[in-house]
Symmetry: C2
Subunit: 377 residues, 2 copies
């Protein structure tokens, strides 16, 4: 049975696409970048700043939320949107990725995965069905199937086993999702590591099962960018053109620009906030390390051409001082500045595709990054 | 020579007073609470939030700023207001208090104090003259004289020696301040520990030297509230009625209310932000510990009657979750909520004095605190 489709493509330019995905909590303009609000909060930002920066949709981590404060509790409090005050679209992951990276004493089998919480050592189980149930309790607009993600490099045998398991879990997830609330969506996830043949098999199997949208998982896990892009090129042509495509956990502005060029519509990454907390700003002229002493006496803003107030108003000297002093405001400002830059990039991408000038935008944007930061003075 | 006076008293009610102090960067409504932006930043808040919460003036710490980023550097960058983006009145302390509490290898003599930085061990000297120079470089609207503050309990001999030294340093500070920018102010500081006779001697000596305003220092350093209030009652009547009076480092909402009743006009304290970072909210019904499990399932806001959006909108369950998860947003929201509560209290105090109903306000406010938080459900 074909699932309903609320994704509308507005324009294409080469393989790049722009459109709108309608969710129960609002419309998402694509290509879209989803900042990661791990445990029901965006580190260093108020929700109004996340929104003001141009964010349509955020990602919540099922693993963190199921452990604390708990899915049933969030449901009783009205769901994640009401609980957190982020009143827009929200995608939740399945929890599987964090179980494998954060939890202790993991045991993975056909049924699912058992593990101990990294917070209090308590025992938990995550199956495809329970993951869907949790995401439903959270009030997610877009749920992800449970999958197994293998870190690269890995043996082909391990990659294939995880890919096949993910396909079976995808089918179970889709069955479990049948009674989900109207308008909510379930995305399948293609695995297959860095093996083209396995990537293609995974994509075909996933499309056969049928989902509202299709994700590519297991990339940006240690492989070179060229490998990541090659895998996208294997998978994207096999996906239905009228469904949204989501590249999970990606990435740098460069990764995003290249993936859009290859037909990807959605992204998520902790990089803007995490790097912001470590003193790094993403700008039109590439990354800037505010901890560097070259900024200590520099009264100039990060980028005087930016439309984002904090980016064009605060002196580099002040940001440098905040970073060196470990002041919370430094992390707050740089996280906000980075999310604003990412969303500015996405808006530029969308406009360029709509106007049929993506190739030019791609060139100009890369030229800016290659130019590098303004000269110290 | 009498110093110019830009303080205007608008009303009195008993000993309580309300007025306006005009500084080069704007007008301060008194009684005023000054949140503490230690190292050029308010922990967990954007400056616009500090302002929106009803703050007229903030305090900057000379000790922190002279060490990092350095007074000369801030001067070259246009002064603290321009450097930080806080474009309002700013009072700076003399640096002496933090030298005694934070710095290493202190050596105090008639000339001043030498110490090593707690940041990098570098050697520094702070004299009354250098303190004034630093505060001038910072662009302070209100500078404080260097003094010696003795922690209580202490021997009378030690208290007296520090008090006399502070008087001599006050005279030197006033001389050093003679060439300061027009409109900027210098406040003297009365010491004398918990000894009424020494407090009175200190107040008389300070008034004889003559300052733009008068501070009471060395209180809220471990003594009971009753002792603090008794010392205010010794000092306040000896101060010129037409000059602003500042009780340094105070305090809880209770302390502030009682001190206003005894004629104090200005306060500063890290408590709203520090306690906020530790999960504590100040409210109309007394303090609330958001880390307590009683809030885990409570959808009610901290205070639905509050005019401050975060106080009346976020669920206690969400704030509890943020605090327990160590999310930055928890510290951000509670710091903001606390500063907003303090400023709401000050606004209530000012209105009540203006309307001649301070006694009633005092009773009602205390009754609210005594009532305690709403019942769990």
């Amino acid at each position: 049975m074909t699932l309903p489709n609320t994704f509308e493509l507005d324009a294409r330019d080469g393989e790049a696409r722009t459109g709108r995905l309608t969710t129960p909590h609002g419309v998402v303009r694509t290509p879209a970048f989803m900042p990661v609000g791990t445990a029901g909060a965006m580190k260093g930002l108020h929700w109004r700043e996340v929104r003001d920066a141009g964010t349509d949709i955020v990602l919540g981590n099922t693993y963190h939320l199921m452990l604390r404060p708990g899915a049933e509790r969030i449901a009783a409090l009205g769901g994640l949107q009401r609980f957190t005050g982020w009143n827009g679209p929200m995608l939740t992951d399945s929890g599987g990725f964090q179980v494998m990276s954060l939890a202790q004493l993991r045991k993975l089998g056909e049924g699912g995965v058992t593990f101990r919480s990294h917070i209090d050592g308590s025992s938990h189980e995550l199956s495809p069905e329970r993951s869907i149930e949790i995401q439903r309790l959270l009030g997610s607009d877009i749920a992800m199937q449970l999958d197994e993600c293998v870190r690269l490099p890995a043996e082909r045998g391990d990659i294939e086993r995880a890919m096949q398991l993910s396909l079976r879990w995808g089918e179970r997830s889709r069955r479990a999702f049948e009674t989900a609330a109207e308008g909510t969506m379930l995305f399948g996830i293609a695995q297959g590591g860095d093996v083209p043949e396995l990537r293609r098999a995974s994509a075909r199997g996933m499309v056969e099962t049928g989902f509202h949208g299709y994700a590519i998982g297991g990339l940006a896990v240690g492989e070179p960018q060229a490998v990541m892009l090659a895998m996208i090129e294997e998978v994207a042509p096999l996906l239905p053109a009228d469904r949204p495509r989501y590249l999970m956990g990606v990435g740098t502005p460069q990764d995003i620009l290249e993936a859009v060029k290859r037909g990807i519509d959605m992204f998520d990454c902790v990089m803007p906030t995490r790097n912001g907390r470590h003193g790094m700003a993403f700008t039109r002229l590439g990354p800037v390390n505010l901890a560097n002493a070259r900024h200590a006496d520099d009264p100039r803003p990060l980028d005087e051409q930016s439309a984002w107030p904090a980016t064009r108003s605060y002196a580099r000297a002040y940001l440098h001082h905040l970073v060196k002093s470990g002041e919370t405001l430094g992390a707050m400002l740089l996280s906000e500045i980075n999310i604003a830059y990412y969303q500015h990039l996405m808006a530029g991408i969308r406009d360029a595709i709509a106007q049929g000038s993506f190739e030019q935008f791609w060139e100009q944007t890369r030229a800016g990054w290659a130019q590098g930061d303004i000269t110290p003075r």
